[in-house]
Amino acid sequence: MLSLTGSGQFSTRYAQDRRIFRLWQARAGLAVLLAVAYVVVPLWASDYWFSAILIPFLVLSLAGLGLNLLTGYAGQLSLGSAAFMAIGAFAAYNFQLRVEGLPFLVSFVLGGLVAAVAGVVSGLPSLRIKGFYLIVSTLAAQFIVEWTLTKFGWFSNFNPSGVITAPPLVMLGTDLSSPAGRYLLTLSVVTALFALAGRIVRSDLGRNWMAVRDMDTAAAVIGIPVVRTKLLAFAISSFFCGVAGSLWAFAYLGTVEPHGFDLNRSFQVLFIIIIGGMGSILGNFLGAAFVVLLPLLLSNLGGSLLAGVIAPGDTENLQKILFGVLIIVFLIREPEGLASLWRGLWARARVWPLRD
């Protein structure tokens, strides 16, 4: 019988104590999960699954993670995640276009760094402005970025409608542009960045973020460098969003225009972290799965079961209403999101067959 109690497993060094998965059972579970994601899924999944479900799910998880670091961990509300995704995507595109022979993964990283710089700039007001007033700063970023990318043709290589196209996704001589290849690429990038984020929130930086989130005046009083902490939150969050934007543009869609990163995308990312759970790493996956699957489920249901009852144009409105209701239900019933359901299950599994 597999026991999850963790008895006999002690941390004898701080490094062990800071590990993301302290129990060997959890590490084994992760290994199985990764094996499934890398081996079983590519063997089994169809192109539809890759392109319509798995890739957007992974990319949105990453975008959610970016926002979660900023809002869930560091407590700075942002409505501009899509802007940083756009910056990442367009910067990566321009690096590809203008630097000969640059590996595309490097340009993804460079795109993320450009987004991080933009994030720091839009985070500067957060040093003086708090709470809701800060929405303005991130919304300003949202609108300025959208406007700039549409207005100045240089960013999209003077494409008349501002559309950018994916570079050839070739790495070490392997062509990754098949759906399975793009899935594996996305999976690898997302896994690496999630591992990084897991480490960051367990480091002293992550602890500082939480202190600032809970009360920045108190954090300043006990000697936490609030300025650096907040700006790093903006930088790292925007980096994650920027890479997510590159993946969204190049691994998921292939071509994208600035309006693909509008305010609605920002809201979508926000919903991921509300539904998944603020201040949780796992929650981003759960929230993204929810946001990707629910519309598919609804449109399939609307297409088959309720074909005669609901006019096709109304499904979108019903979907909107349902989303709104779900958000409110989550905020009321489960303010810590789907992640806290998981936490509860895990806690019960650990003491099973006893009850807590």
Binding site: P125, R128, M215, T217
Partner: protein
């Protein structure tokens, strides 16, 4: 010079229209500390309901009364279904709940009344009025007049009635208000209802101007910088903020637009608001928060 004045006054009058939406925000923020993102969709809902009733043969005032009733019902439903369950939660949670509310209202409005664009005629001839060589929009003047009446009415409500007294005490301190026997939930219902009424008036004016359609709910994005400049908790601030944003936006469009490219009215108000915030972090008339550990 005449041209400058014309642009300036046109901008100021347009700004009043933004203020109309911002006032709805301020009312709710003052009384319940909720940053109500759904105000824009309330404007849409009101305008859409009104127009649809009008098109189904209701007389003007009949449609107005019916829409008002719908807004009141909506307000109390929000209070009962959402806010009541979120007492004592952090403001960010309440804000996100109003995001959910705005989704529901937008979906509902379009489900009920369809998504097509409706024209709305309030019977004001929109021909320019000439005052000492400056052309003014008759409609904008009318809107400004309505806004002035609205502000007057609201300030009377706040300062001269018993309900206003309770409203002010709730705005001051929820717990203390509860302790002296004010029924918090009813006050919240009332405030949301008043905000619904403001939304209706704003919806009619905006609807007459832009046509009643989905994009009406986006005026919330115009009202936000107005609110920020004025401060979240001041009705006067909403008016002043609206004037600043309206004038700044028009002037920038005319004088800066040709230099860096048009279409900057989407983001210019936000930059303006940021500049104000850097000097006064709680807006021009907002209450400065005192931080205690």
């Amino acid at each position: 010079m005449d041209f400058f004045l014309e642009v300036l006054i046109g901008g100021l009058l347009a700004g009043v229209m933004y203020s109309m939406v911002a006032i709805g925000f301020v009312l709710i923020y003052k009384a319940s500390g909720v940053f109500n993102f759904a105000q824009g969709s309330m404007v849409l809902f009101a305008a859409l309901t009104f127009v649809s009733l009008l098109e189904r043969g209701f007389p003007f005032w009949g449609a107005f009364a019916a829409t008002l009733a719908a807004m009141l019902a909506l307000a109390f439903a929000i209070e009962r279904g959402v806010l009541r369950h979120l007492v004592n939660r952090p403001p960010i949670t309440l804000f996100m709940a109003t995001l959910g509310v705005s989704f529901i209202i937008e979906g509902l409005a379009q489900l009920l009344w369809g998504a097509q664009v409706h024209g709305l005629d309030l019977g004001i001839r929109d021909e320019p009025l000439e005052v000492s060589g400056i052309l003014l929009s008759r409609f904008d003047l009318f809107a400004a007049g309505i806004a002035a009446l609205l502000v007057l009415g609201l300030s009377l409500l706040f300062s001269r009635t018993r309900i206003g007294l309770s409203l002010r005490s709730v705005a001051d301190d929820h717990l203390a208000a509860l302790a002296v026997g004010i029924r918090l939930q009813r006050i919240w219902g009332v405030v949301w209802a008043v905000a619904g009424f403001v939304g209706l008036v704003a919806g009619l004016l905006w609807g007459a101007r832009l046509g009643v359609q989905f994009s009406l709910s986006l005026v919330v994005l115009k009202a936000l910088p107005v609110l920020i400049i004025g401060g979240f908790s001041s009705i006067g601030g909403a008016i002043v903020g609206g004037l600043i944003v309206g004038a700044g936006e028009k002037l920038a469009e005319v004088y800066v637009g040709p230099i860096i490219g048009d279409g900057l009215e989407n983001w210019f108000p936000y930059v303006l608001a940021l500049l104000f915030l850097l000097v006064r972090p709680a807006g021009l008339f907002g209450e400065r928060a005192i931080e205690r550990v």
